[in-house]
Structures are given as C-alpha cells and as structure tokens.
Subunit: 198 residues, 4 copies
DNA sequence: AATGAATGAGCCTTCATTCAT
DNA sequence: GATGAATGAAGGCTCATTCAT
C-alpha cells in the first residue's frame, strides 16, 4: 500500500478534519486528533511529522476529492454554458455533500503556506487548474480572447456560491444552498455574459 | 469621553488589527498587542476583559467603518442599478483602502460567537442590514417581489468581489482588485438580471 | 474620631471579614473588599497600606471583640469551676454568635506574622492573656502550683470546643455546638481534674 | 507499578508537602514543586492535572499514613481506657514524628472541597472512620449508649492535643508536645469520664 | 481624604514535540 | 511501526499596588 493511501493515514486525516471542522485548526490539539483517530501520539508524528503537515495534508486531500468531482461534472459538459453550470453545480453539490471538507477548503488555504514547503505543494495545487482553464479556453468563440484575467471570471462563477455557503454552513442562512443550485448557475451564466435577463 | 471613543481604546484596537492582519488572530499574543499599542497588559484587560473580546471589538469597529462608507455610497444612488453599483464599489474601495480591516472582516466573523455574548453583539450586527434592504426593496419595480431570499441576491453582488479579494490580498492574484472595479460592478448588474450581455 | 474607630475603617473590616469567610484570605481580592465595603481602592490603601494589614486588623478586631465577651463572662465567675465554665461558655457563645469572626480567628493566626510588624502586634496580643492567667492563678488552692505550662491547661478547656466548632462551621457536624455547651463545660472541668465522673 | 504507588508520584507529593509546609499552599507555586521534586512542569500536570489536585492528593496521602499509625496503636489496645490512650498517643506521636504532614492535615481539610470531586474523595475519607467508631462502640459497657454524638467525644480526645500542637508547631509554645503526651492522655480519660481526679 | 485607571511582575496551565522502550 | 510518559517554552490572565487628579 503506497504511503499516500495507507488506511491509517486516511483515518487520521478524516479524524483531523472532524476536529478542525468542530473546533477550528488552532483550537484542535494533537490529543484531540489522537483520541478521534484512535492512533497514538507517536503514530501521528511518524506519519506526518508535525501538526502543520496534518493540516496541509487534510487540505490537499480535500482538494483532490473536490477536483475529482468537478472533473466528472465537467467531463459531461459540451458547451461553454454547460461548462459554467458544471462548475457551479460541482461547487454546490460538493459543499452540500461534504460540508466539513468544503468549509475547511474555504477557510484554510493558509495552511499550505509553510516555511520551505511551498514548492512541494505548488505542483499539487496547480495540477488541476490547467485542465479546467484549457477546457474553457478551448470553447471560447473563435478568435475571442479574455479581456480580463481568467481568475476574475472564476470569481464570478464561484464567488456567490462560496459567499452564500459560508453563511449557510455557519447557520446564518435559512434557505438551503441546494435549493439555490439553479439560481446560482443561471446567475453565473448571466454574470459572464452568456445569457441575458429572463 | 465615552467608553467607546476613548483614545486608548482606539489605539489598542488599531494595534490589534495590525497584529491580527500580520499574524492571524490565534498567533497574535497579548504581548504583541501590548507592544504595538504602547499600553500595559493590565490596561488591555482593564478595557477589554480578554483577548477574545478584543478580537470581537476589532470586528465591530471594522463593521462600523465599512457601513459608514457603504452608507455614503448608497446615499448617492438613485436607481436600482446605481444601488447595485454602489454596493460593489463600496466593497472594492473599502477593500483597497483598508485591506487589513477588510481582510479581518472576511475571515473572522467567528470571533463574535462567544459564549453568552451573542445577544450583546446581535443588535450591533443587525442594525445596518435593515436600512440597506429597505433601500433596495423600495426601489423594486412596482408589484415585484423577490423570488429568492434577499441574502441570495446579496451573494451575487459581493461574492465575486470577496472571492477575488481574498486571493488578491493573499498575494495570489496579479491584477489589482481596483482595476476590476467596473468589471465586477457590471457583472453584478448582469447577474441579478438588470442588464443583458453587452 | 480616632483612627481606630473611624466608621469607614469598621465598614471595611467588616466587609473584609465577610469576604475572607466566604472565599478565604488568599482568594479574596482587594477588588472584592472594595465592592463589598463600598470604598474605593485608593481608600483601602489610604487606611490600611496593603492587603496583609487589612487581614491583620481584622484579626485584631476580632480578638478585641472576643476578649470583651470573655471578660464579661469571667467577671461574673467566683470559683475556679465557674471560671472554667465561663471560658468554655464564652467560646461556645462567641462561635455561635459570630461564626465568621470565630472561624477567622481559628484559622488565620498567621496573618499577624508580618515582616517587621510582629512587635507592633505583640503588645495587643499579650495584653489580655495576663488578666485571665492572673484570674486563675489567684484562685488556685493555697500553695498549689501548676505542674504543667498554663497553656497546656488552656488547651484542655478550649481544644475540644475548637475542634468540634471547626467541623461544625464547615458543615461537617449535624449537632449544633450550642447544644453541646454544657457537655463541653463539664468535660473541661473533669479534664482539668476539678470534678470526677458523674 | 500501580498509579498510586509510582515513584515519581510519591516524589512529587513529598516535595509538594515540603513546599506547602514552608510557604503555605497558596504561596507555593508549581515552579517550587517542580524544583523541589525534580520533575518537569508537564510531568506534574500529567500526573495530577492541576495544583488543586496535588494539594488534595497530599492530604489523602497524609491521611492514609496517619490512619495506618492509628490503626497500629489501636490494635494493641484492649480496654476502653487503653483505646482512648491509643488515640491520644497516636496523635501526639504522629504530630511529633511528621510535623509537616500533621500540620498540613490540621489546616487544609478544605483542599478536598473541589468542584465536582467531592464524591471521589468521600469514600477515601469515610473509609477509616467506621472501624475506629466500631472499636469503641463494641467496648462500651453493656447496654450503654452514647448520650451525645460520637464526634463530640472525639473532640474531647483530640481537641486539646490539636490545639496545643497548632501553637507548638508554629513556635508559640516552649514545652514540647511530646513532654505532654501522658498529660493529654490522662486528661482525655478524665474528660470522657473514665477516671476521676487523681 | 478619595478616586479609579494604569501598571507589570508573576502564576497556572497548555500543548506541540521528543524519545526510550 | 507503535506507544505514551516526559519535556519545557510560551501564553493568557490576575491582582496587589501606585499615582495623577
């Protein structure tokens, strides 16, 4: 069994996520993760080296899972509009299905900013941005180029969902994000200028 | 001098914000705030009681400042579209002018969730949501009602700006948020369905 | 009004006693005494100099009160046995009437052991031991001298009452000390050898 | 090695007692105990959880030791009078042999009054009262019942010794408690009515 | 005499990390 | 690979005391 896929490793990451979601990363102690995972303190350090790395690995694991989902959705899309809807749907469905993972990814990008390990994470981080960007660029109307940075358009798609989801996950919104799935998908299409007012 | 406007209090809050912005709330120690503010440890506790309350007061102070700015912008708007642009512009200009305050407000809503003090903060929090909502509701086309919760529309306006700003403030975006001011304003108008594709 | 009898001083001492009785001397803060007495922090220090002195003055004030009571009881006694009963009765009645003062005197003799102030307290402490000793010595059978130190006999008289009272005041005895008033008086007479078994 | 008998634990308790005896419980800092015991701060907390628990465990350990001694003395007694002498002798000898432990037991019964742990200590506390009471009740003259609570008689036995010992241990008595061993034993017999005046 | 905001030394406790078994 | 007792640096907070008004 490869290092990354060890059962024990996954159990620890899942337990850590639960603690992080419940108490926050800083307030989570190694002892909490130990108790939740059933591992020993020494085992945690054997596998991950220190707490910061656990937090980073949880982040990367979540990212992999989200990207797998997003990839599936995008694979079924043909047109630009379908692609945009796929992005929004992937966000909504992922957040609703895995609120802990989603909430963690929202708020803890910073755990990857570790002294001397940035390069180790960069590859992992950028690996999946390329294909998605390529997917969309390949479907732009012939000869058209983006007037603004691609990231600005990405913000139009995912920003509203994320903003609403943050509040919803924190219990500050009554209406489920799931109910607003199409609302946000259509708004995204309009925002990027693909469709006009109803 | 009223309690809220004491010079010393403001110096402490400003110093605390600086520390929070630089190191994060958890990693900021009382000693850091003490050194940055010039106050004594005892004085910090005399004024705020504990670190958590300092964090909460910084949040509320930031909220007051942002709302003051947003109020000015909205006061000059007449039409619905102008209102939406005012909201987006207020966000962009506030974030660009006060990146520390803005970054803090983005990521630390949670500091208000304090055992037994929620009611003390609720009033302050809700105080300014009313007027803004009222402004927009009063300008809806006659007889029209919102199909979705008001907060969902709010997410369309501020979500993209926030999403982009988070990355930009963290140094992960090259293009300044300021450059994208009109891009996000127009996208917001389109997203809510006020304007069609160019 | 003399320094010792100032109204404010007495209010502070009484308030301090209440705090000491409820929380213990160490756990009582100047702030508690301030709140309970209605005085200001500065006033406490103006009158007493520091916390240790407050504790000492409370002790001395209690001692004065107890001795006044004991003196009254002893003044009415004629024989040796009546004197012994007077001592025991004074203890029981004082403890029952002023449990806070009594409990404080039991457990906080140490507050008088202050660097450089022992001589200041010695006079006060010894002032009243003389008369009582003299009272008893004057009534010993002609030519008889005590075989053991006077303090050993004192322990026979007050020891049982104090021992029981400590537990009773702490809520660990059901039967009231008052009910045992004569029991302890008679036992004291027997213990010193004045009376035989019933 | 069982938890209670760990070498490290005992070293900590003994060191703590020394500090408590010298400076008082409140004035003793964790750092003092750490230095005196040779353990690390973390180890103190690993074994006892907090300072309050250390104080309580010292108390219980002292109680166990005293009861062991008292048990030995009582085991050799046959008659009621011998039993009473055994109780007094055990007190005197224990106080003289272990003045620190004895002084601590006198003055710090309160350390067991800890939020939520009273029941944990109750069993330990009551464990040894039963056998002693039973010993005496079994030797009462046939058909005789105590007119007063057993604790009142206990006060007659130990009260004088404790009263004198408090002062003696504090350096306020010249005559050694040991010299008064028989004086207090005989006085105890007289006090409970077993023997008359000489 | 009174006031109370300010001071800062010092304490209890936590917790990431190590390492002998 | 696993274990968990031990470590000790560091942080939040308290509180007796001072002093300008």
């Amino acid at each position: 069994m490869s290092e990354r896929s060890s059962t024990r490793r996954h159990a620890i990451l899942q337990a850590a996520l639960g603690c992080f979601a419940q108490h926050g990363v800083e307030a989570t102690t190694i002892e909490m993760i130990r108790a939740a995972s059933g591992a020993s303190t020494g085992s945690l350090y054997h596998h991950f080296g220190n707490k910061e790395r656990i937090a980073a690995e949880v982040y990367l694991e979540g990212l992999r899972r989200f990207r797998a989902l997003q990839g599936e959705y995008l694979a079924e899309a043909q047109t630009l509009e379908e692609g945009i809807r796929a992005i929004v749907h992937a966000q909504v469905d992922w957040i609703a299905a895995e609120p802990d993972w989603a909430g963690y990814l929202f708020n803890h990008r910073g755990v990857l900013a570790q002294e001397g390990r940035e390069s180790a994470y960069r590859e992992e981080l950028q690996g999946a941005q390329g294909p998605v960007s390529a997917w969309f660029l390949a479907r732009l109307p012939a000869g058209q180029r983006l007037r603004w940075p691609a990231e600005a358009y990405v913000a139009l798609l995912v920003g509203p969902v994320h903003d609403y989801a943050r509040h919803w996950l924190a219990g500050r919104r009554e209406t489920s994000l799931v109910v607003l799935r199409e609302f946000f998908a259509e708004a995204a299409c309009r925002a990027v200028g693909l469709t006009g007012p109803d």
